[in-house]
Symmetry: C2
Subunit: 238 residues, 2 copies
Amino acid sequence: MTKYESIAAVIKQRIQDNVYQTGTLLPNQSDLASEFGVSRMTINKAINILTMEGFVSSQRGFGTKILNHPLWNKDVSPVNEYRGLSFQMAEQHRQIKSQIISFEVAFPEKKIQERLMLTPQQPVYQIVRLRIVDDDPFILEHTIMPVDLIPNLTDDILKESIYHYIQFDLGLQIAGAYRNIQATRADEFDIKYLQCQPTDPVLEVEQVAYLKNGRPFEYSHSRNRFDKRGYTELDMRN
Amino acid sequence: MTKYESIAAVIKQRIQDNVYQTGTLLPNQSDLASEFGVSRMTINKAINILTMEGFVSSQRGFGTKILNHPLWNKDVSPVNEYRGLSFQMAEQHRQIKSQIISFEVAFPEKKIQERLMLTPQQPVYQIVRLRIVDDDPFILEHTIMPVDLIPNLTDDILKESIYHYIQFDLGLQIAGAYRNIQATRADEFDIKYLQCQPTDPVLEVEQVAYLKNGRPFEYSHSRNRFDKRGYTELDMRN
DNA sequence: CAGTGGTCTAGACCACGGG
DNA sequence: CCGTGGTCTAGACCACTGC
């Protein structure tokens, strides 16, 4: 934990505790620097985090205003998506189960070779999992990962969290992801496993996720029941 | 344009011109600092931008690797969403027309009062526009904005770009937006104006956009034809 | 005008990855 | 071990806001 992260956490707590009230201004950066015994650049970095997370908004020549946060009750940590669904649900005290529908190894198709930067000879896992939250089918996930990057994947890991395995057991660092979100019609798979009607829409999230070393490690399609789950984001800038 | 923004632009250009090649490492930050005649912190800030935009990925103790960018041909500028659809389409040399379906002023409903932080007595515009790209119906936008924040809105502005008017004519600064993306069924409006079938899915983006001064200035629902438009994002971290 | 945040510097120390 | 990027400092200048 760096200094600016700790300071951001303290200020966030003060906002939540109404020590700093919504609609008012934060103390100026110099005063905060004195209070925390750090340089102003460090305060500036802390405030940048809070800006990205949507808690405050700064204006040169004016000050830093505390915003009425649209997602107070939800998770807005900067690592949001990369802890996987398991973590998110645990935070909301919801029970998640994963049913493995298929788990195979094969050589990648052309499209996958391109997306994951693979040769035709590099095998991939092909995983289909049904994520069940509080006993209701929620998301049908089709995941493809290179075997050489993610070795020794087992049923036990798939039933828990792949992301936990990648980050904590393999020690790999995740850089980010590219996503495309579409609405589509339910297909036979969705009808069977998500228990959709044939005329139901489905929210489809296509994702390619990358490691810090530059290699894509996951290509996935998440098919979400339209009445159970949306996709929420907070997009704030400096 | 700040120094770190210019430097980021130069480095990005070198990547595009293959002066720095995909998969190799960038020169180290000290060398770049010498070359550009700036301090290393400035180089660091420039590289942060490139990281957020998905061009490079840094690892402490190793270096900064140039990534195979998933969106080379698309717009990844950091102000992506805030220039509005008009600007995006102009960049792709596509023709956009806006048909005004309704444009009224009214007192806000309860839900809108909450979302836009208004009293029941503060009037709002209620705008419905059909965005037509290359002569095909594309998006049906329901937009609500407070009259006091966005004065003197006219038909002419609505046919062009509201975002341009807000930023350039009114001089307001946009902080960001909260979005929720859902798949839904087509309703009568969609069928009539987007020329959907009754069984077609629709991609719905609900958005609340904020100014830097903390006031929400827009509540909107964009209903996108499922076969014409998805929602794409690049989500990279440090 | 005084006060604010945004940027920038020239150093420094440290954590980490690789040989 | 060395070289890397990440952080941090104590200042400085500037652009902008509001009065």
